[in-house]
């Protein structure tokens, strides 16, 4: 494997150089991400927020590489919360009225810089849903394929991080094209794919690192993995029957506190469920999709009024069963949770997937 050394003083120059070939995305302070500024010093206003989000980088912006965590995952860069799909005109005097066409979207090469390894793995899991044997979702596939993922290893995992329990790790390489490791005055860049090499070429990063750099990566990696103390058990999930877990007695207790908001699903890097809506303005009509959430009763409501998951406990169970059992059984690629800890941190009522996973994993049905 090729390893490149990037001195931090070369960093901004290289990033600027890469803008010639790539649209760049990365974590930036939310307050720097909007064009308009009119907030008047309220501490709860985004303008004063110290929160970071993944956004497209403007000409003078650089991705924050200081190891920040983002409330929202970067999935929106590939799978926007609202995404136009098809459009047509309802004007019957136009030749192809009422005939839907794909909306033109720019899929020129782009790079996401500073994505965390667990988020990159999450996107590979979402990819299983959108790029299948039978159908390919063109919106997802086009965006995913156009993107080069330049990851940033997690040197200091947060207290919420339990990625090592969920098939990912602070230095995981799955789904990444390059893994950058912060090593003081320099980044050590592990080149994982040709796509990654192409980006480094475009940025002009080409100093080959020596053996000691690789050793340094191993040292930092071991330290980071050791720093994660949360242990979540998943080993028994596979051999339990779906119905055993589904009928287990613990779901009411888990669900009691839930208020059925969409927070956990929206902050989650692997939640992909969506809704399709049509909107018309004047004579032009657009079909678009929005993130949806299995937490909302509307998600499964039939036209007849019947709702197969009308009760809160059924919806809470669906979310955990999908992530920790259905997905596992269907794809055999681990759970649909990468251990990023965002839902643990953001859930308004502290429903903790680590706890739920342990309960499911240790459940022994009475026979």
């Amino acid at each position: 494997m090729k390893v490149i050394k990037i001195e931090k003083k070369e960093w901004t120059g290289g990033i600027d150089k890469s803008r010639g070939k790539y649209l760049l995305f990365g974590p930036v302070k939310e307050s720097d991400s909007e064009n308009e500024k009119s907030c008047v010093g309220n501490r709860s206003c985004p303008a004063d927020s110290d929160r970071y989000i993944f956004k497209q980088l403007f000409a003078d912006q650089f991705p924050e590489m200081g190891g920040v965590d983002t409330v929202l995952s970067p999935k929106s860069l590939i799978f926007p919360q609202t995404e136009k799909m098809l459009q047509t005109t309802l004007d019957t005097s136009v030749a192809d009225h009422h005939i839907m066409k794909r909306v033109d979207t720019d899929y020129s090469p782009r790079a996401v810089i500073g994505i965390r390894p667990y988020d990159a793995r999450a996107l590979t899991l979402v990819n299983l849903n959108f790029d299948t044997e039978d159908y390919r979702d063109p919106y997802w596939c086009d965006a995913y394929e156009a993107t080069t993922f330049i990851g940033l290893a997690v040197n200091n995992p947060s207290e919420f991080d339990f990625s090592t329990s969920m098939g990912s790790s602070p230095f995981g390489e799955e789904g990444l094209d390059v893994l950058l490791v912060d090593n003081g005055d320099e980044f050590i860049a592990k080149v994982i794919t040709d796509k990654g090499q192409a980006f480094l070429d475009a940025a002009g990063f080409s100093k080959v690192a020596d053996e000691s750099a690789i050793k340094e990566i191993e040292r930092l990696k071991a330290a980071a993995e050791k720093a994660i103390t949360a242990k979540v058990g998943t080993g028994n999930l596979k051999r339990r029957e779906i119905l055993e877990l589904h009928e287990a007695p613990f779901w009411n207790d888990i669900a009691f506190a839930c208020i059925n908001c969409g927070t956990c699903t929206f902050v989650c890097p692997t939640c992909w469920c969506f809704d399709i809506q049509d909107e018309t303005k004047g004579k032009s009509s657009v079909r678009f999709r929005n993130w949806d959430s299995c937490m909302f009763p509307l998600f499964t409501l039939h036209g007849s009024g019947h709702n197969p998951r009308g009760e809160k406990v059924q919806r809470v169970r669906q979310r955990f069963m999908h992530k920790l059992k259905y997905f596992l059984d269907k794809y055999d690629q681990g759970t649909m949770c990468v251990g990023c800890g965002r839902c643990v941190q953001s859930c308004p009522v502290n429903i903790d997937i680590r706890e739920v996973c342990n309960i499911m994993n240790s459940y022994e049905p009475e026979r």
Partner: protein
């Protein structure tokens, strides 16, 4: 060839990714009021591009998304048989935003159809077998497609006895009445039409709920007899034990499900029952399969 197969084939041929969300443009060719309360209408669609009709080739039991620009899409079972050429037919109950709009559309209007979607009744497995079709209310659409398919001269010899038990609230609520009465006259299909009640003194068929008629009229189980069941939840709930007491095994009871759907291609995530997606892994399941999944339908 099925929808996904042909999409993939075109992709491989043409190189460009095919968009499974893109409907085929169609024109409404005929609209018939299907029931006396006018809550159901049967729409016949003709493809604007002749080539799309071949691409749409479906099997009885599949569904499609009827797609109205500006309104949205609804998943509806295909009521026409693959043996009927030149058009596709859907019978639609007026209930939500899209179906209400559709009910007000006119012959000649342009809209879209996306599909065929989902799996179908297991026609390979059913070859050489006796088939009992059990339907209730307006869930008879894909069952009509199935009957027309089996009765087609090219296909009739592939199947043993065909029994049909179909019920509705009243005679006027039966779908495809003219065809039902035609089939009654034939000797290669045993019809058991029933209504919950009727005030018509000349009604010459059964009166009673579908599960009861199943108990009385359905053929006894044998290894070569399969039942296809499609109807409202309450009918399904009581038909199941009726069939089981006749001796039908779990894998001899084939059912078609409905759940709220959006994408129809297994991606949007809402229609799952356990790890199966009703839109893509279904809508057709055997009772044996359903007994292994959570009953979230």
């Amino acid at each position: 060839m099925q929808y996904h197969e042909q999409l993939r084939a075109r992709e491989i041929e043409g190189g460009e990714m095919v968009n499974p969300y893109m409907p085929y443009p169609v024109r409404i060719d005929q609209i018939e009021i299907a029931t006396e309360d006018k809550s159901l209408k049967t729409f016949r669609f003709v493809f604007l591009n002749k080539a799309d009709e071949e691409k749409f080739a479906h099997k009885a039991g599949q569904f499609a998304e009827l797609s109205i620009p500006g309104q949205g899409e609804i998943p509806i079972g295909i009521a026409s048989s693959p043996t009927e050429k030149g058009f596709v037919k859907f019978t639609v109950f007026k209930t939500g935003v899209v179906t209400s709009y559709l009910h007000n559309m006119k012959v000649g209007d342009i809209m879209g159809i996306r599909g065929p979607l989902g799996n179908w009744y297991p026609w390979d497995k059913l070859e050489g077998k006796n088939v009992v079709i059990i339907g209730g209310g307006f869930a008879f659409t894909t069952l009509r497609a199935s009957i027309v398919y089996m009765l087609d001269p090219a296909n009739r010899s592939k199947f043993g006895n065909i029994d049909v038990i179909y019920g509705a609230r009243s005679p006027g609520m039966l779908l495809y009445r003219d065809e039902l009465y035609e089939w009654e006259k034939r000797d290669d299909i045993n019809m058991h039409i029933t209504v919950d009640s009727t005030s018509d003194p000349d009604w010459k068929y059964n009166v009673g709920f579908v599960p009861t008629v199943v108990g009385q009229k359905a053929p006894k189980a044998d290894p070569d007899t399969f039942a296809i069941v499609c109807g409202p939840p309450i009918m399904i709930k009581f038909t199941q034990p009726a069939l089981e007491s006749l001796g039908y095994g779990q894998n001899q009871i084939i059912m078609s499900l409905e759940n709220r759907m959006k994408c129809g291609i297994g991606m949007c995530g809402r229609c799952n029952i356990g790890k199966e997606l009703v839109c893509k892994d279904g809508p057709v399941f055997t009772l044996e399969q359903l007994n292994r999944t959570p009953r979230e339908y």
